[in-house]
Amino acid sequence: MIRVESVTKEYRSGRGYVKALNEVSLNIEEGTITAITGKSGSGKTTLLNCIGGLESPEQGSVTCFGSNLSALSRKALCLFQRRHVGFVFQHGNLLSYLTVFENIAFPLALNGIEGKKKAKRIEALLHRIGLSKAGAALPHELSGGEIQRVSVARAMAHWPKMLLADEPTASLDSDTGRSLIRFMFEMGREQGCTIVFSTHDLEIIELADNRIYIRDGSLEG
């Protein structure tokens, strides 16, 4: 269970303080798929970041699988993210100097998964994303869709409990985007992973188990 309780998050910008999240509360059941939608600047990314522990709220708390993220030390939070969280970013954000194989291996190595188990897992994921022969390719040699598929494979490689995806289809055409989402959902369901993602695409939203609408930092509906 992911519990977000009265979370408020402010940013300081050139226009003064901006309230990105205002007293947001929600519960997400384990193993479900949740879509967050809203206009640009509504607070989707901030909410995802707070759930993943990338940002700490000024007020309120986020509890993921029994761990209150605000109460964790810096190191404990890093270890929590390393073990239980997978992130997919808008533009993939693969590590540019690592090959596809090494990018997927990165979270596995961080979690101490080495040797045959690691190689087997990467081979399986590469096969799954249709890039079995592209393991040695560097990110700049891949198309946008391929980058996002590798990004999902990397985020799911270490069997995380939670996958957070920030507009993963934003840089893709609609067909490629939908295919990526289907792949992400399949992987999530197979691994029993809780998926929370943000998107503007109404068709994709319909595919999720739960939908959250956010406007000016507050939940709607």
């Binding site: 990338l54 940002e55 890093c78 390393r82 590590l95 540019s96 990165f106």
Partner: protein, 386 residues
């Protein structure tokens, strides 16, 4: 740790051009400083070689009894021992007189080790067993005497005067040798001399102090030995000054290079900041990120220093093979380069190890700034702003 070393290596290897540019700075600095340090050692060597080989040797022995043979002073590391004695007296030619310290030498041995014979400007050097005198240009002018003329030497001891023919005239440019002394073959003046002095010349790499310690250990305490360091404090200070100057140059060069590396690395890291943000989002701790960046800098430093060292050593080797750098034009009036102005760079532990060690330490320090910069940034902040 292996994982971070591998990741850092991949980062450096696949960021080829940036790595090459950064490495080039370190490599150039290490190579130049190895060469410069070796040149500095070579300058010191040349000054010592010039100063000791002209006359005095690396070690001077005084008040040695006539019963002690020169062979007794030959030890490991000793190339030659020259036996000399001194007789004070007066030289006279026609109506002119000059007080003099006559130095009795073994001409054939002197020719092997000293450079005085090379300083002959007229005539020739002495020959064993000939009743000859070899005097300075100044003394020849004062006596108004030329090569081939015969003068008279009156020992102060009251012994019988001796007639000597001028074999040659020399000029060293060093006051102590150009004024008040003259040389003759040791056997030709029948004056009983109780003591003799020794000029000990050492082989390359032998230390004067250790040979003196050996003498002191094995010979009676009354025998006096002094190294060139004690005999020529001005030269010793000059060498110390040279070493200090070299140290300062090294620190300055690497200070500038380190700052350059740190700045270049900060730009390099800012360019890749998003990737470090992604790593943080994946659960990489600030400590691990610092370790990664420091490892990147260390690896780059090690490789660049290794290549720089090889280039530096090669440069020293090549200059050595071509016979050194001839700076006679700039040293001809310098008393520390009276014999030769050729500088041969020489590698020693100091010149070989200091530049890469300093490069490594400076690189390590220069990596702290970018490492702290990245470690302190929050992942969300990085991902939002980049």
């Amino acid at each position: 740790m292996r994982f971070w070393i591998k990741t850092a290596s991949l980062f450096l290897f696949r960021s080829g051009r940036s790595t090459a540019v950064l490495s080039f700075m370190i490599l150039t600095a290490v190579a130049s400083l190895i060469f410069l340090s070796s040149l500095s050692v070579g300058v010191n060597d040349a000054m010592i070689r010039n100063s000791v080989s002209l006359y005095s040797g690396h070690i001077s022995g005084f008040a040695l009894p006539a019963s002690l043979g020169r062979e007794s002073l030959i030890r490991e590391g000793v190339a030659n021992v020259l036996k000399r004695n001194s007789i004070p007296g007066i030289l006279s030619y026609q109506d002119r007189l000059e007080t003099v310290m006559m130095i009795g030498v073994q001409p054939s041995e002197e020719k092997k080790s000293t450079a005085i014979p090379e300083k002959t400007i007229r005539g020739r050097y002495l020959q064993n067993g000939e009743r000859e005198i070899f005097l300075s240009k100044l003394m020849a002018e004062n006596l108004n005497i030329s090569v081939g003329d015969t003068l008279r030497f009156n020992p102060r001891t009251g012994a019988v005067p001796v007639r000597l023919t001028v074999s040659g005239v020399y000029r060293t440019g060093i006051d102590q040798l150009d004024r008040g002394i003259a040389f003759y073959p040791i056997s030709v003046i029948p004056v009983k001399v109780d003591t003799w002095s020794a000029a000990v010349f050492l082989k390359e790499g032998a230390e004067a102090e250790s040979v003196i310690n050996n003498y002191r250990h094995e010979l009676p305490e009354s025998y006096q030995f002094k190294s060139w360091r004690e005999m020529m404090p001005d030269l010793r200070q000059l060498i110390d000054l040279e070493n200090i100057s070299m140290g300062i140059v090294m620190i300055l060069v690497f200070g500038v290079v380190s700052l350059g590396i740190a700045c270049a690395f900060v730009i390099f890291i800012l360019k890749n900041l998003r990737e470090y943000g992604v790593m943080k989002a994946m659960g990489v701790t600030p400590w691990e990120l610092t370790l990664l960046i420091v490892t990147e800098v260390i690896l780059m430093n090690l490789v660049a220093s290794f290549i720089g060292s090889i280039i530096g050593i090669l440069a020293v080797f090549i200059v050595d093979r071509v016979g050194g750098i001839d700076l006679t034009t700039f040293t001809s009036h310098n008393p520390y380069f009276v014999v030769s102005g050729v500088i041969i760079p020489r590698l020693n532990v100091y010149s070989l190890c200091t530049p890469p060690v300093v490069a490594f330490l400076c690189g390590l320090v220069s990596s702290i700034w970018p490492a702290v910069l990245v470690a302190r940034k929050k992942a969300a902040e990085v991902l939002r702003i980049v």
